[in-house]
Structure formats: structure tokens, C-alpha cells
């Protein structure tokens, strides 16, 4: 199994900060699996994604993509292999859904190239898979939160990446769209053997859908491994500073037995 992303002893601190945003983080992302990145607010999830994707440069340590240091990749070259869905982006102009998805072809077409049949097919397929084809002509400023998120995922898929990285893709979505998004990620890893890295706050869905989880706290790796290994009462209570119970998912289906987190009412005086 080839490693998509490999981080060794990565430390990062923001200019002027007295504490490291990331401290000696190790992470290796294998092909064709769904990796969840967990941790409380401010634990360094977004920073880790930025360093991993070359947006920020590690203060020390080593980051590589497919065996090559991340800094050596040309931006356009890596964009044909890795797609990123940021947490949010400004919607200043009423672009059409299709126009936004077509932007995913930029790394393949370049500044002066012309879109060919391959590009059009990739856009069409991406819109189909992400379920946005039915409103391809609508301006993005009129979309609901769920529709907009799927449109942005469609743009990432139009890049035809090997690896898809998402930063809290379901943060503003209701239960229906959140489940749809996770089901979509599962289909992409299973059917198209995409590698997915997702930062999320939803522990229970991460436990059900991810094969690997990395739990960050204050920039350090608190636990890493399968959901069963990481989701222990002690670890989660320490990281999230709240009393919880870990219960097996009641099923039915392949989720049965997966650890699920239930926050408890704290004993008097703790909260």
C-alpha cells in the first residue's frame, strides 16, 4: 500500500505565537481509505490540513505526498491529484453551479488551454456523483447550505483527484445532508478507491465511516488508529473535558457494535 501523505515529527507555530499549533505530529495516510481528523476547537485540525497540503510550511519535521516532499510539488501538478474542500469561501458573485464545478478542471486545462471532451465529461460526472446536476444552472448565491456544500464537493471531484481532503464539510448541515455527505464519502472510497481525509466534529459518524482516526488535542496527537482503539472513555473525556459514555452502535447493518459517544450530564459542580 502506497502512502498518499506522510507526516513525520511535524511542528508548526504561527508567527508570534508562544505555543506550537502542531507539535511533533506523525500521520500516514494510506490509499483508498477514509481518515478522520478529530479534536476539540483549536486543537490544530485545520492547521494540520494546511501543513499537509503545503499551504503552510512546517517549522520542523517532514511532509511528503506520494514519497516526494510537499514543497517540491508544483501547485498545478499536485492539484491534479489532491483536491481540497475548504471550510467556507466567500460568495461574492452569483456564479452558476456549473461554472463553479468547472473550476475543478483548471489544474488540467491551465491558464490558456481549452476545455476538451475529457474536461466536460469530468464535470458532468462530478455533478452527477455529488447530486448537483439537477440544479447546474442555478446561481450559487441561491443555494441552501447542503446544496452549496455538494457543489463544492463536485468541484473537488471534477479535479479527478486520488485524494480528497475536506475541512469540516458538514459543520453547517442538518442530519439529512450530513448523512448524505458521509455516505457520499464512503461511496467514493469504496467505488472509486479515493483516499479521503476529513476533519470533523462529529465523533459518531467518524467512528462509523472512517477506517482510521487521528485525535488531536492542543496540537499533539492524543490517539491514533482504528475507531475501536481511539474511542475509549478515558481518552475522550480527557480530550474534550466532559463526562461521556462509549456505547456500541445498536445496528442494524455493518455499523452494529461501532463505538458511539454519548455525552452525559455532569455531576453537580463539575460544569
Amino acid at each position: 500500500m502506497t502512502c498518499q501523505f506522510e507526516l513525520k515529527g511535524v511542528t508548526y507555530s504561527y508567527p508570534g505565537a508562544d505555543r506550537n499549533a502542531l507539535h511533533r505530529v506523525d500521520l500516514s495516510v494510506g490509499s483508498g481509505s477514509l481518515h478522520a481528523l478529530l479534536g476539540p476547537n483549536g486543537s490544530g485540525k485545520s492547521t494540520l490540513l494546511q501543513v499537509m497540503l503545503g499551504e503552510a510550511r512546517a517549522s520542523s519535521g517532514h511532509v511528503s505526498f506520494r514519497g516526494r516532499p510537499i514543497v517540491e510539488w508544483k501547485r498545478r501538478e499536485i492539484a491534479t491529484q489532491v483536491a481540497f474542500v475548504p471550510q467556507s469561501e466567500p460568495l461574492a458573485f452569483p456564479l452558476k453551479v456549473r461554472e463553479l464545478v468547472e473550476m475543478g478542471r483548471y489544474p488540467h486545462i491551465g491558464t490558456l488551454g481549452r476545455a476538451g471532451p475529457d474536461d466536460r465529461r469530468a464535470v458532468e460526472e462530478a455533478m452527477e456523483v455529488a447530486g448537483v446536476a439537477s440544479f447546474a444552472a442555478r446561481p450559487i448565491t441561491t443555494l441552501s447550505g447542503g446544496e452549496l456544500q455538494r457543489t463544492r464537493i463536485a468541484r473537488a471531484l471534477a479535479q479527478k483527484p486520488l485524494t480528497l481532503v475536506l475541512d469540516e464539510p458538514t459543520a453547517a448541515l442538518d442530519l439529512h445532508f450530513e448523512m448524505e455527505t458521509f455516505e457520499l464519502m464512503r461511496r467514493l472510497t469504496v467505488d472509486q478507491s479515493l483516499t479521503i481525509v476529513v476533519a470533523t466534529h462529529n465523533l459518531n459518524l467518524a467512528a462509523r465511516y472512517a477506517s482510521h482516526v487521528l485525535l488531536l488535542a492542543e496540537g499533539r496527537v492524543e490517539a491514533a488508529g482504528s475507531p475501536q482503539d481511539v474511542f475509549t472513555k478515558d481518552t475522550l473525556e480527557r480530550v474534550y473535558r466532559w463526562p461521556i459514555a462509549v456505547l456500541p452502535h445498536p445496528g442494524p447493518g455493518h455499523d452494529a457494535g461501532v463505538p458511539q459517544v454519548v455525552p452525559l450530564t455532569p455531576p453537580r459542580g463539575v460544569a
Binding site: T80, F93, P94, Y106, P117, R121, E124, Q159
Partner: protein, 363 residues
């Protein structure tokens, strides 16, 4: 309606046994490109029409027939002088300035992801005016024809640096309120600086310098029109080359970065080229406001925000708008003249206010 014809094509193709995923996109793309081309062609026609009207109106009425005679070299010498030495240079200057300012407006809007951004509103035009006036008063304009546009360019760059520093570009999108306030405050400061500088000038320079504050094409000559065209033409072409990465930048710097755009280099390139354009336009005709706001906004309503259509469209519509505004400026109070900036502001400010209202307050 384009959607209608696409649907017809789709059904037709399916009946012939072609799959939807292979042909609809190609058809839709064709329809879209044809649509954009037709719109650009219509704008080109509009620009020519406005220029033709601007050739005939003015203190001295000249008929279109006379103009044709001039171009064939068989006109009365007075008419010849009016058309060739006054109106043609003036129209060429107005068209170049209009195209330059409208395209710069569209680029600023994408750069700052804010449809209210515009060289004049951001104070960039005022910065360029300070540079131009300073060069005049210091007598640098006598040393080289490059002195004026270069000084205006430096003034524009200074204004951009100040506005961006004040509104804090670090992080994500700029807050509209802070951005507009910075632009207004810095613009006011630069306007005051212009007035301060021209107090030290002789009477002739004073009168000429007043034009930089109000904006006027009264000083147009063949040389000034030609020089400006030399600056603005290539700069506009350079901007159109990067229309596709500019589209990406308009949805966010982080997204553009991860789609393979060298964001830092692109931004520097865009700021430098737009400063050059604004500097040259202000050096040629003064600080004329709101063209960069009205024109891109109207074109976005007509044909969407894809810069591959928007930038050439802004070049043509901006030229038409400015030539038209100048024709109004020199006819409504004839034989006197209004500064053209008065006309563009009278049209532009209501549009600005309306835009501000429709953008959920100021958010």
C-alpha cells in the same frame, strides 16, 4: 431561452441513441460560448454607435455625412479640424480611459471579492492624482513623457498599499465596511494632498491640476490619446490572459491555491497591472469615478461573472459608457462643459447605493 434549445437538442440526441453525459455538455458549452460571443458582438456594435453619435454632437453640429467626407479627405478644413483634431482624439482618449477603468474595477472586485470595489471608491484614483500633480508641480513632466504616468502609477500603488494595510488583508475576505471606509478616508486624504500641492503651483498648472480632481477630456490631443492607448491596450490584453485564474481567485484565495493557482504571484501581477492602468488613465484624464462600478455590475447582470466574458465586455462597455458620458458632459451646458466626472458620479452614486442596499446591508 438557451435552456430551452439545450433541452430540445438533448431529447433529439437521445432519440438518436446518444447518451446524455456525452453530448449535452458539448452542446451546452457551444450554446454558452455562442451566447457570450453574441453579447460581445452586441457590445461592440453599441460602442461603435456611441462613438458615431459622439462624433456628431457638440457645440458645432457636424453631420455623419460630413464625418464620412473627413475620413475620405474631402471635407471643409474647419470641419476637418473639428473632427480630426478635437473629436477623434477626445473619443479615443475617453474610450481608452473608460475601458481601462471598467476592467480595473472588475479586477479589483475579483481580487477583493467585493462587488463594491472600484479604483475611485478605493482611493486608488486619488493616489494616482497625487502622483500626477506632484510630477507636474515638480516640473518632472518636462523631462520625459513617461514621468506623468509613472508618477501616477506610484501614487496608485501607494494608495493600494495603504488601503490594504488599513483594512487588514491577513486572513480571509475583507470586511466591506472597513474596506470602503479605508478607501474613502485615504481618498479624502489624497484629494487634500492634491489641493495642498497645487497651492504651490503657478496659475496655469493650477488650472490644469484642477482637472485631475474633477476628471475631464478637454485636454485631449492626438499625442495624449495615442500614449494612453499604448499603455492601456497591452495592459488590458495581459489581464484578459489571466481571466481563468482570476475566476478562481474570485471564489477565494484558499480555493484558488488548492486548485493550482500561484495566488501570490497572480495577486502581485494583478495589482501592478491595474495600478499601471489606473495611473495611466488618471494621468490622461483625471480621477473619474464609478465607471469601474457601474459597468462591471451591469455586465454581470447581463452575462454572468465569468471573467473570460466579463473583462472584454467591460473593455467595450466601459469605452461606450465613457464616450457617452463625455458627449453628455460637453453638450448639456454647451457652449460650456461639465467635468465628465460629474456625469459619471451622477449615474454611479445611485447604482452604488442600490448595490449597497441589495448586499444585505453592509455584510
Amino acid at each position: 431561452m438557451p435552456t430551452c434549445s439545450i433541452d430540445l437538442g438533448q431529447t433529439w440526441l437521445r432519440r438518436l441513441g446518444y447518451s446524455r453525459t456525452h453530448f449535452t455538455p458539448a452542446l451546452a458549452e457551444m450554446a454558452r460560448q455562442t451566447g457570450a460571443q453574441l453579447r460581445l458582438l452586441a457590445l461592440f456594435g453599441l460602442t461603435l454607435g456611441v462613438c458615431a453619435i459622439a462624433l456628431v454632437v457638440g457645440p458645432v453640429q457636424v453631420s455623419l455625412g460630413d464625418v464620412l467626407l473627413v475620413f475620405r479627405g474631402r471635407a471643409d478644413p474647419t470641419v476637418y479640424t473639428i473632427v480630426m483634431s478635437l473629436r477623434v482624439p477626445r473619443i479615443a482618449l475617453a474610450a481608452s480611459v473608460g475601458a481601462g477603468l471598467a476592467v480595473s474595477g472588475a479586477v479589483f472586485q475579483a481580487l477583493l471579492r467585493n462587488p463594491l470595489a472600484e479604483p475611485y471608491v478605493l482611493g486608488v484614483s486619488s493616489g494616482a492624482a497625487v502622483g500626477a500633480v506632484a510630477a507636474m508641480v515638480l516640473g518632472l513632466t518636462a523631462t520625459s513623457i513617461l514621468a506623468l504616468p509613472v508618477a501616477a502609477f506610484l501614487g496608485a500603488v501607494l494608495a493600494i498599499v495603504l488601503v490594504l494595510a488599513m483594512s487588514g488583508t491577513a486572513g480571509r475576505g475583507l470586511d466591506t465596511r472597513v474596506l470602503l471606509l479605508s478607501g474613502v478616508v485615504i481618498g479624502a486624504f489624497f484629494n487634500a494632498t492634491v489641493l495642498l500641492i497645487i497651492n504651490f503651483a503657478d496659475a496655469d498648472t493650477f488650472r490644469a491640476a484642477m482637472l485631475w480632481i474633477m476628471g475631464s477630456f478637454a485636454g485631449a490631443s492626438r499625442e495624449s490619446a495615442f500614449t494612453l492607448l499604448l499603455y492601456v491596450g497591452p495592459a488590458l490584453l495581459l489581464l484578459m490572459v489571466v481571466a481563468r485564474p482570476l475566476n478562481l481567485l474570485s471564489v477565494g484565495e484558499q480555493s484558488a491555491f488548492h486548485l493550482g493557482v500561484d495566488v501570490w504571484r497572480l495577486k502581485i501581477f494583478l495589482y501592478v497591472v491595474t495600478s499601471l492602468i489606473v495611473g495611466a488613465c488618471v494621468a490622461g484624464a483625471g480621477a473619474i469615478g464609478f465607471v469601474g462600478l457601474v459597468v462591471p455590475h451591469a455586465l454581470r447582470l447581463i452575462g454572468g461573472s465569468d471573467h473570460r466574458w466579463l473583462l472584454p465586455g467591460c473593455a467595450m462597455a466601459g469605452a461606450a459608457f465613457m464616450v457617452g458620458a463625455d458627449a453628455i458632459a460637453r453638450t448639456v451646458v454647451a457652449p460650456a462643459e461639465l467635468p465628465v466626472g460629474v456625469v459619471t458620479a451622477l449615474i454611479g452614486v445611485p447604482v452604488f447605493l442600490w448595490l449597497l442596499r441589495t448586499r444585505d446591508g453592509l455584510a
